[in-house]
């Protein structure tokens, strides 16, 4: 009788420890998502600001300037639900303007253009990176949250179900292209 009781208690304790460890794992994943989301935000904002700067600097022709300014402005002002669409449109606008290597070269020639192109090239390369890292964290968290033990014992608490950030982040070839290729 006592032996059964002791075994039951031991089993309950083990299950409790396991659940607490799983909750810790989940908590860490949520922290990782938050950090990845902050990083993605920072990269998207950086891209939009550099674009806006270029659009208002008068180094591009007026039509290209307006297109870029519009897209960058919309991306920065977008509500959370429209964000993915607005950022994708900014990617499309950047591709349309910087499709030709000659255009990139022209911007590079003007005073201060070298830095601006470098910054923009860096931004269009880092957005896809940050997005991949973010979505990878989201996938890991979702896989764990779908597990029975997490659902039955409500280990996720009130944390919202993580959503991937889906957008078109293809960089303009002339900017993302590596030297000599």
């Amino acid at each position: 009788m006592t032996a059964t009781l002791i075994w039951t208690l031991a089993a309950l304790l083990t299950i409790g420890l396991y659940l607490s460890w799983t909750a810790g794992r989940l908590d860490r994943l949520h922290t990782r998502i938050d950090a990845a989301r902050a990083a993605l935000d920072a990269q998207l904002l950086r891209r939009a600001s550099v674009t806006q700067e270029l659009a208002t600097a008068g180094v591009l022709d007026p039509a290209a300037s307006i297109v870029l300014y519009e897209a960058a402005h919309a991306a920065r002002q977008a509500e959370e639900e429209q964000r993915e669409v607005a950022e994708s449109e900014l990617s499309a606008a950047l591709r349309a303007v910087f499709e030709e290597a000659a255009q990139v070269e022209a911007v590079r020639q003007v005073p201060g253009g070298e830095d601006a192109t470098l910054e923009l090239a860096q931004a269009v390369r880092r957005v896809p990176m940050a997005r991949r890292f973010h979505n990878d964290a989201v996938r890991a968290a979702r896989a764990l949250r779908r597990h029975r033990k997490v659902r039955w014992f409500r280990l996720a608490g009130h944390a919202p179900f993580p959503l991937a950030f889906e957008m078109d982040d293809e960089p303009p070839t002339a900017l993302a292209d590596r030297p000599g290729s």
Binding site: L17, S20, G24, R25, R28, L29, R32, A35, A36, A38, A39, A42, Q43, Q122, R125, R126, P128, M129, A130, R132, F133, N135, D136, A137, R139, A140, A143, L144, R178, P179, G180, S181
Partner: protein, 386 residues
């Protein structure tokens, strides 16, 4: 930036991953970052100042061959101490799934962790069994890097998730600068790799050699790498054996000079390659490359635009392609030019900048790396006194 790099394989044994880490560390230090590399090493081995030894690696049979790995209580303690003393902004773990320092570091650390997956092993039974143990450790990795599109695909299939592709780096300038050696020039084919490792493909090349020599008797094959030389030429007719020259193990300098001297560099590897750094080195040195059409090689050679490809393990196709190249100096010159332009993307200046971008992306808005101190039993049950 304070960067900690974890190398899973013994520093004393030369290997692709070790060289990659050494060059990466060199590159980052030159840019002014503080770098510390944790690697298994014998106590007697002289180490560069940036390497911290994690103790001697133990040879154990793993994954079909004998691997020298670090594990156990002592190694785990050393990893924790290194993490604690280093106060890194980011740690970069190589091969986090191998049961060695990489996995230990993954367990012991928290904060921004970057991991590079070098190999693309098919899913092993050990991996499936260990999956529940691996998953909690791999979840901590904030950014994954795969060395090729092929490595990324296997990673996604086996572990889920995603990775960015950043190729291995090569110091293109080093290969570009060396002088060719006259005695290695003139109708020569080059091969670099372990002689006794069938996956490096020397047997395929040996089967193709009679056809090449029949058409061009003056051709010589230069083989650099260790292994049994007698056994390697055993399949060849006696009178042809003198056309094969064995150079043994060569220094980095000689390797570059060899690549710069030969008319064609042949990479007949039959499998097990996830990147193909030797092809990049050959192209950097301006050698026209002829390689088997492995996924990884096809990608490095830009789908065949920067080098010629032949059907894997097909000695006749290899012989035909090699003869075509040897007979056509114009095509060789074209491949040289294309190759040199193509390799710029593998130069450390490009690859290093990409890796730094990853570091900066994951460190944006987080704290630095610390040891992952699991709460004690008392805190878990709310009994700890503050």
């Amino acid at each position: 930036m304070r960067i900690g790099i974890v190398c899973p394989y013994s520093w004393d044994v030369p290997g692709g991953v070790q060289f990659h880490i050494r060059d990466l560390a060199d590159h980052l230090i030159r840019l002014g970052h503080e770098v510390s590399v944790l690697a298994p090493a014998d106590d007697e081995t002289p180490l560069p100042p940036f390497v911290v030894s994690a103790g001697r690696a133990v040879p154990v049979p793993y994954n079909g061959s004998v691997a020298r790995l670090n594990f156990g209580f002592l190694s785990a303690a050393r990893v924790r101490r290194w993490l604690h003393d280093g106060t890194f902004d980011v740690i970069h773990i190589h091969e986090p799934t191998s049961p060695s320092l990489g996995l230990l570091a993954c367990w012991a650390a928290q904060g921004p962790i970057v991991a590079t997956f070098h190999t693309s092993n098919p899913r092993s039974r050990a991996m499936i069994a260990a999956y529940p143990i691996l998953q909690p450790a791999l979840e901590k990795i904030s950014a994954r890097i795969a060395v090729s599109e092929y490595a990324r695909r296997t990673l996604v299939e086996h572990l889920g998730g995603d990775a960015v592709v950043i190729p291995n780096g090569v110091d293109v300038g080093f290969f570009d600068r060396v002088e060719p050696k006259p005695e290695w020039q003139g109708d020569t084919i080059g091969f670099i790799g372990r002689i006794d490792e069938p996956r490096k493909g020397l047997p395929v090349l040996m089967r193709a050699l009679p056809a090449i020599l029949a058409a061009r008797p003056a051709t010589r094959l230069l083989v650099a790498g260790r292994g049994d030389e007698e056994e390697a030429v055993a399949a060849l007719p006696k009178e042809m054996r003198s056309r094969v020259e064995f150079l043994g193990m060569v220094s980095d300098e000689d390797k570059a000079r060899l690549l710069r001297s030969v008319d064609v560099y042949v990479a007949p590897n039959t499998g097990g390659e996830s990147f193909g750094i030797i092809l990049v080195e050959a192209m950097s040195a301006g050698a026209p490359v002829l390689a088997s059409d492995l996924d990884a090689f096809t990608q490095v050679l830009d789908q065949g635009a920067a080098g010629e490809l032949f059907a894997n393990e097909d000695a006749d196709a290899l012989a035909a392609a090699a003869l075509r190249l040897l007979d056509d100096p114009a095509r060789r010159a074209e491949l040289r030019a294309r190759g040199s332009a193509h390799v710029r993307r593998f130069d450390w200046s490009t690859v290093g900048a990409d890796i730094l971008s990853v570091y900066e992306t994951v460190t944006d808005g987080t704290t630095s790396v610390a040891t992952d101190d699991r709460p004690s039993f008392r805190t878990r049950f709310g009994l700890a006194r503050n």
